[in-house]
């Protein structure tokens, strides 16, 4: 699903994707970089421009909300049983 973008790049998040949490940034030239959230670091050691990095940082709230929504199988917090005791 495309979350946001402009003419230079578009940012996607997929359902049921693998960890670590990340978004796919696709550029107009046909290349792609996967960027881990919420620390906004490229997954494969590549670099991203300040423009892309700032755009993702500014959208972190919506990106992480979508990630949580798309990955409900990710345990929220498995400590509640112990706490109730």
């Amino acid at each position: 699903m495309k979350v946001f973008g402009n003419t230079k790049f578009k940012v996607y998040i997929y359902k049921n994707d693998h960890l670590p949490p990340h978004c796919h940034v696709r550029f107009a030239d046909g290349s792609e970089v996967r960027v881990m959230i919420p620390l906004v670091e490229p997954m494969d050691g590549s670099t991203i421009s300040k423009e892309v990095s700032e755009a993702i940082v500014n959208k972190l709230n919506s990106l992480t909300r979508i990630w949580d929504k798309f990955h409900p199988q990710r345990p929220k917090n498995n400590l509640s049983i112990k706490e109730k005791k």
């Binding site: 996607y12 960890l19 696709r26 050691g45 940082v57 909300r65 949580d68 929220k76 400590l79």
Partner: protein, 507 residues
Amino acid sequence: MMRWNNTSYQKIKDAKFINESIVVSFENGDVIEVPKGSLIPFGDKNNIEWSKLHFNPFEIIVPATPYPLEIQWDKLRVITDREFAKYLAEKSDEQAKLIGVKVKRLRERKNISSKELAERAGVAAQTISRIEQGHTDVSFATLRKILAAMGYTLKDLANQEAELEMENTQKSFNVLLKKLSYAGIDSNFLTKKIIPARLQVALNAQKQNEPTLLLDEVASYVSTIYGWSPNEIWTEKNLVVKSEPAEMAFFKKPTNSNENQVKAYSHYAFYLAKVVLKAFHQKNISEYPSSIEEFKKEYFKNFEGIDLSTLLEFVWNLGICVLPLNDSGVFHGASWNIEGRHVIVLKQNTHSHARWIFDLLHELYHVFAHLDDPNTSVVEVEEMNPFSNNESIEELEANSFANQVIFGSRAEELAEQCVAAAKWDIKNLSKSVVQVARKEKVREDFLSNYLAFRLSYQGENWWSSALKMQVTEPNPFEIASDLLKRKVQIQDLSPMDYSLLTTAIKN
């Protein structure tokens, strides 16, 4: 460059639905077949029209109700490329740990305890601890809540690195201390064990204006042990201690939040173990005994009773190096097989010979039985005693070996004799231990130690009596370090290794 960074590894060239599977060709020539079952997300897809799939270079789109199913290239690769999946799992672990370090740093910056933060955020204290320890099972919603409770946002978390880098552009000893502290290396240990005294004197003398060359020399000691480049130390991201020395084999994760310290100390001990091996050139090494009977036969052929000096001598004669360390903390000893040669690291804070001997026998068994393969290890993250770590078979076996060497198979029988001779009254136990030890020709310190541990597991504290019966002179650390100095050619080491090893074994 890893193959998955190559565009041709990522780009889809063709995709077809054949025999209940999707067959995908990538630009690099790879053709993979993925059964449709492994691509259906949980629950929400009905009427998936697999035969009508279409694709673009990065994803396959399959018409479905209520929304089309989008399958991205890395999803396909992670299912079919084990190395790629492993890489991602490691990356995930690394990221989660980094998030943990950053959350902790923000919390400490605000001077908030984890308990207080948990209360403020309305989450369990364990949730804070899990995040800070780098667990991946915490949702972003919880993370946002925790950050908000400190007055931060996800944006602050992401931008923190830039801030740290800004701080770090100023090279200083304090910056180094701060970075190392996050990696689990505390300043006390650093100044006491890693940085030579002459450099510390120089640093103190030039506190106001620390010369770059001096700082670089200090950093070179750290980078030699931990394998970080100078660039990593001064300018880049958080320093993370590599796990290898602690994870080669039976490493058990510590139960509390000290994994970083265990890793950092294990790395230091591992480095020293390699240094010791570099300087140990003994020839005529005997073969390891293949059973406890053979061990006893060989040992008692040369030595009369079990005492620390003779046992250490026996172990060294087998070609096994024994390195004593005396720092406090969470690491309690280790054994390594480094390229087919063994090193035992002992770390005891007591002067009790009985405890040192028990630990040495325990580790020796690991060497005999569990470390045949090159580059394997056992790292002890819990204190060793006759009854400890009973959940692990390897630890149980090592305890059993130590007890058998010390007591034969009679440990429990002797304990019962002591209790009976004391007329089941703990006040009489000291006297009865002396009597039984004499009668049965067992050392009092071994027997009292065994009983004190035995009783402590049933809620009785008999330690003050047992401690009085311990042999503590000469200092066991000195016995072990003096023997090491005699066995290895320390003078052959490089100045840096010489400094690190001699500092480590100095009492």
